[in-house]
Subunit: 315 residues, 2 copies
């Protein structure tokens, strides 16, 4: 697609070029954190972009590696931040897709040990995937004396701000059984917080468990193709060439688009910088080229003038 406009990868685009993209694409996939909002603050103009896309008959889905909330909470958050037309079936989180993977793809028989937030466990339970109850309330429990459930057939790692050594140790013990699956919601290494602080991500906890177990996790979230397969299974006739993946992180969002054959757009309101994208583009290492976005915008609000042009045209 990028070639059709005569652009090279990693090109900053504006009004008329964005309008061309809006006309060419049917399906818009957005990451959330750093693209649509920062925590509890919507990116200025993002709500209008989303409603304009929907009003113009485009399909819009949200593809997030954030695994800490069930999908209903996303619907509430969208509504709270002024996105009035986002429905449950537009939301593809790594926790929801993990539940689909366990229930429909591998059809797990047995329970799942979750090293992750309560929201992840709730998403699994809502999908009918049974989890081991966490009963770490006993302060004297250690890996030497705790009970291990006999029927754990999968360990699922996600972001876990209640991580304890005991949880990590239990997960390591369950993974001694080669028939126990090892999944990670996503591999995000860290997330930016205000004041220069960072939050270790699922990828950090997954790395700990990979070392302790000597095994590699199957990653559900971006950049793995599985989330796109979930979308394709729920929206008929999704054509990758008609899709645009919009994200803020080169190593997850752009690589995800590249892995799934989608055109990609980097928005500079989040983690990755334009210079990093250029660095990947200029790299001699061909594997780095999968991180290069086709297009770059300062913010998704740059879509708005293009809608105005389209609307003037219709008048």
């Amino acid at each position: 697609m990028a070639g059709a406009f005569g652009f090279k990868g990693c090109q900053k685009i504006r009004g008329p070029q964005i309008r061309g993209l809006l006309e060419a694409k049917d399906f818009f996939l957005f990451d959330c954190d750093g693209v649509i909002w920062h925590g509890e603050n919507a990116i200025t103009g993002a709500a209008k972009v989303v409603s304009s896309l929907i009003r113009h008959g485009k399909n819009v889905v949200f593809v997030t590696n954030n695994c800490t909330r069930p999908r209903e909470n996303y619907v509430h958050k969208f509504s709270r931040l002024g996105f009035t037309d986002v429905m449950l079936d537009q939301i593809f989180s790594s926790s929801y897709c993990s539940a689909l993977y366990l229930r429909d793809f591998v059809k797990v028989h047995g329970r799942v040990f979750v090293m992750g937030c309560e929201g992840l466990r709730r998403e699994l339970l809502e999908a009918g995937v049974p989890c081991v109850e966490e009963a770490d309330d006993d302060p004297d429990a250690t890996i030497y004396n705790c009970t291990l459930a006999p029927d754990v057939k999968a360990v699922l790692v996600g972001h876990d701000d209640k991580l304890t050594f005991l949880k990590l140790a239990k997960a390591s013990c369950y993974l001694r059984d080669p028939e126990c699956l090892f999944l990670a919601t996503d591999n995000d290494p860290w997330h930016p917080l205000s004041g220069g602080r960072i939050l270790p991500g699922s990828g950090s906890l997954t790395a700990a468990l990979e070392v302790a177990s000597g095994r590699k996790a199957t990653v559900i979230g971006k950049p793995s193709r599985f989330m796109f397969e979930c979308i394709s299974s729920q929206f008929r006739g999704v054509d990758p060439s008609q899709c645009l993946m919009v994200g803020d992180r080169l190593e997850t969002d752009m690589l995800f688009g590249s892995n799934c054959g989608l055109d990609t757009m980097l928005t500079l309101t989040g983690v990755s910088q334009f210079e990093e994208a250029q660095g990947y583009r200029n790299s001699d290492l061909s594997t780095n080229h999968s991180f290069v976005p086709d297009y770059v915008v300062d913010t998704i609000a740059d879509f708005l003038p293009a809608f105005e042009e389209l609307e003037e045209q219709c008048d």
Copy 2:
């Protein structure tokens, strides 16, 4: 040295060959867990081996990646398990060597944030290396609202059975400062427990922090050469060719010996199996050859008949 006896690497040796080694070597380095003891049970005959070596004028030191106890505790443990002649200056633990690294090698100015056991912190304090006080008692503290110390100049990771997400997150934040050093006591991935359970090791926690920080830790313990440098600095005239490193783990003990130019002996009372050593020996990958022991014994008690022969010879 191995060549002098006409052995190939990974050869099981017995009485006369062990006697040859005892005559040829001056300096015996022993790992502890899986070599000298299992938890609170001494390996049968190990205490007699150690005292016989000392009585024959050999230097004996203990080189352990276990970072959970200060060295005095090791002296007490040796004594409790029947090793009556082991002194403080024979014990080189990864926590002690980490303290030497921080105090004498990099001469850290500022405090150290320890993601590890209380014993590790105590070892640092005894060496005069100031640590950040852990005040995680507030159950409402999170990485969003907690205080970060302004003068942290090193993060040291070790085995930590009190690991929490907040500790990991704080360590990740400290490592945003490129001048803050990043050290790991050791890189052991896991440790065997009874009943098929395992305990995640320092290497597991280090991996989590490496991913969250995007940095690589400097490893103090085996297989890094630094512990041998500590021994050399405290025992004059240590000649690597006169040393034998005895351990139970190919990827740490044998590699450590190889990295330091020492002959190596695998004892089969611990983690690694003879077949794994043979696998490394037969591997086409030359880097795998550093894991191959020169000698293999079933247990260090196999030294005992050699001492009897030596003593008969003296009579």
